[in-house]
């Protein structure tokens, strides 16, 4: 996994975290990992971490948004949908974030997400996420890389 850090936010009503990573792709990747860790106590691991080939549980995502933080929200929304509705848990994601080609253009995220079937006994649900909120949502560049803040309604 890319070098990155997750810090829980002690929001009394809901759940949140701050994230730090050296580049945008790593930031989005760690956001996905933090989300899955919030959803379940023992997330599954990638059974074949060295394989680059496509597998049955792979999902291709191509998301666009007019801002970077909105792109992060849409990415997390997609992962919530995959887990809670499709019963597929992301075990590996390699998001590629592309900035707009021109001012006021769109940010783009392309990702192949490898998933495993959710097993309630093995993976142990922890939280149901109702929504990824815009409240306090932030993605910004820092001297050392990138930082983000996300609050989930649970």
């Amino acid at each position: 996994m890319a070098r990155a850090a997750v810090q829980p936010l002690d929001h009394t009503g809901d759940v949140g975290f701050t994230l730090r990573a050296r580049d945008l792709s790593a930031l989005f990747e760690v956001a996905g990992t933090a989300l899955v860790a919030e959803l379940m106590a023992s997330p599954p691991r990638d059974p074949d971490p060295t394989s680059e080939a496509g597998a049955e549980g792979d999902t291709e995502l191509d998301l666009r948004a007019d801002s970077l933080d909105r792109l992060l929200l849409r990415w997390l929304d997609e992962l919530v949908y995959l887990v809670q509705t499709r019963g597929r848990v992301p075990v590996r994601a390699t998001p590629r974030v592309t900035p707009p080609a021109q001012p006021h253009g769109v940010w783009r995220l392309e990702a192949r997400v490898r998933t495993a079937r959710f097993d309630p006994d093995a993976h142990a649900w922890r939280t149901e996420v109702k929504g990824v909120t815009y409240h306090g949502l932030e993605v910004r560049r820092t001297a050392r890389g990138w930082r983000a803040r996300v609050i989930l309604d649970v």
Partner: protein, 480 residues
């Protein structure tokens, strides 16, 4: 209070934040000394959210927060905001929340605690078997066809009753008869439909629960009698909402309204407050989708009611013996068209309960003399309360009251505190039998994670925006 945010006492437990900055109206909140201390500890962030709400177009004075106010996302939890559509008033999906029409339904039985006790463990097992609970919980065997789901979205709880999951009398004791008008299933995205199809009749996770309780104190015998509650009566409280379907409706429309707001010249102090004029095409589309999701929530609680009756019958109580009937079903996350002071308003309640006073035409005949029943869940170790709406609520809070205790600990803090404790054994020692789909949920929802709901209820009672009727002590708890 901070230099930027000042407030003054204007009544019993009632405080006013004068209009300033971008506020269009004053804000009023209710708080006990204990709640004031918590507000200060959190650096008045929830009051700042209330001030933001007061800046939205078409808001009618005042923007309000109930004494279970706490920091939410966009709107504070416990917030009440009325908007006048005729004066450009807006609707805000974030002001309703992700769990559209989340609410509580109280059932009263013909049993008393002595009848319940010998069957407590078996009844807990039967309820846990009958009620799908937990994250993503679903009722796979009864998965609806898309055309059936559309009927649920249009007809609400009545669809479930027509299918044999309840009685017509259940509908008469449900807010709005268990169906909001103007629902349009076509206003929902395919993803909202997909999320809703398997989940009708499921409890969910987090703070949702099903409790079997006993009335342990009656404060207002007349109102309690109208509800059929006496000391020792066994009751069942169901707390859940519109599940993934409602969550998706909120997500979809927050996104849509973020793009729409600038077109209507609406400045947003917080993007989660994304709003559009209630009478605009965007506003009408959301209200139609919200009504459909609300109807799903009413139908969800109706289906769970049938499961509760079945569970009581599983352990040997014939229908005539348990006599389970709906006292009332109410919502605490929605936006409703109501008349107040001769004006037709759209009242948002986010973590707040409608609490109409005596005589209101929308109340069922049984409660017209005493006021609308209001249920205020506490925590699974202590108690919950039954109140009634008052004339004071009609004049002060657009007919609104509190909805719960409010959290004291974050979920992370609660998990940390619970790490070396056997919470199930502790609750068992208190006489509370728990069945839960997830140990993490029990930790996050442990009694100490919540403020004492008695403080919230006493504040409401003293301020005159609700009146205490009875207290309910938990005996069996089903959690997700």
């Amino acid at each position: 209070m901070t230099a930027q945010l000042s407030f003054e006492a204007v009544g019993t437990h009632r405080y006013r934040i004068g209009r300033h900055g971008r506020m269009r109206v004053d804000a009023v909140f209710y708080a006990s000394p204990a709640v004031l201390a918590v507000l200060e500890q959190e650096n008045y962030q929830s009051l700042t959210q209330l001030v933001n709400v007061a800046s939205l177009p078409g808001i009618v004075e005042p923007a309000l927060a109930m004494p279970d106010i706490h920091w939410g996302y966009g709107f504070p939890i416990g917030g009440v905001a009325a908007f006048d559509p005729a004066a450009g008033g807006v609707v805000s999906p974030g002001g309703v929340g992700y769990d559209i029409n989340c609410g509580v339904r109280l059932l009263a039985s013909a049993l008393d605690e002595a009848d319940l006790s010998p069957h407590a463990e078996r009844l807990a097992d039967a309820l846990f078997r009958r009620v799908p609970a937990g994250v993503g919980s679903r009722r796979q065997a009864e998965r609806l066809r898309p055309d059936e789901l559309k009927r649920v979205l249009a007809e609400g709880a009545a669809f479930m009753v027509a299918r044999g999951h309840g009685e017509p009398a259940d509908l008469a004791h449900t807010e709005s008869g268990g169906r909001l008008p103007d629902a349009d299933p076509d206003a929902l995205s395919p993803r909202a439909i997909e999320r809703g199809l398997p989940q009708l009749g499921s409890l969910g996770s987090g703070n949702h629960f099903l409790e079997v309780q006993v009335v342990d104190t009656v404060y207002d015998p007349v109102a309690a009698d109208a509800m059929g509650l006496t000391t020792g009566t066994v009751t069942v409280l169901i707390h859940t909402g519109s599940r993934g379907l409602g969550h998706q409706v909120c997500s979809d429309y927050v996104e849509r309204f973020l793009d729409a707001a600038p077109r209507y010249g609406i400045e947003l102090p917080d993007r989660q407050l994304a709003a559009a004029p209630a009478g605009s095409p965007d506003g009408r589309a959301y209200l139609s989708a919200m009504a459909a999701a609300a109807n799903f929530a009413f139908a969800n609680r109706q289906r769970l009611t049938a499961s509760v009756r079945e569970a009581f019958e599983d352990v040997g109580f014939a229908p005539r013996e348990h006599g389970l009937r709906v006292v009332y079903d109410l919502a605490h996350n929605n936006a409703k068209r109501e008349e107040h002071g001769g004006r037709h308003l759209l009242v948002h309640r986010k973590g707040a309960t409608r609490a109409f006073g005596p005589g209101h035409a929308e109340l069922p005949a049984a409660y017209r003399g005493v006021g609308q029943p209001v249920f205020v869940p506490g925590d699974m170790g202590r108690y919950s309360y039954v109140l009634v709406g008052t004339e004071g609520a009609m004049t002060q809070t657009f007919g609104s009251s509190c909805h719960g205790a409010g959290r004291r600990l974050s979920r992370h803090q609660a998990r940390k505190e619970a790490r070396h404790r056997d919470l199930l054994a502790e609750l068992d020692a208190l006489g509370v039998v728990v069945r839960a789909a997830s140990r993490a949920t029990v930790a996050e929802e442990m009694p100490e994670a919540y403020k004492d709901v008695a403080d919230v209820v006493d504040t409401v009672h003293a301020a005159g925006i609700g009146r205490k009727v009875a207290r309910l002590r938990p005996r069996l708890v089903i959690k997700g």
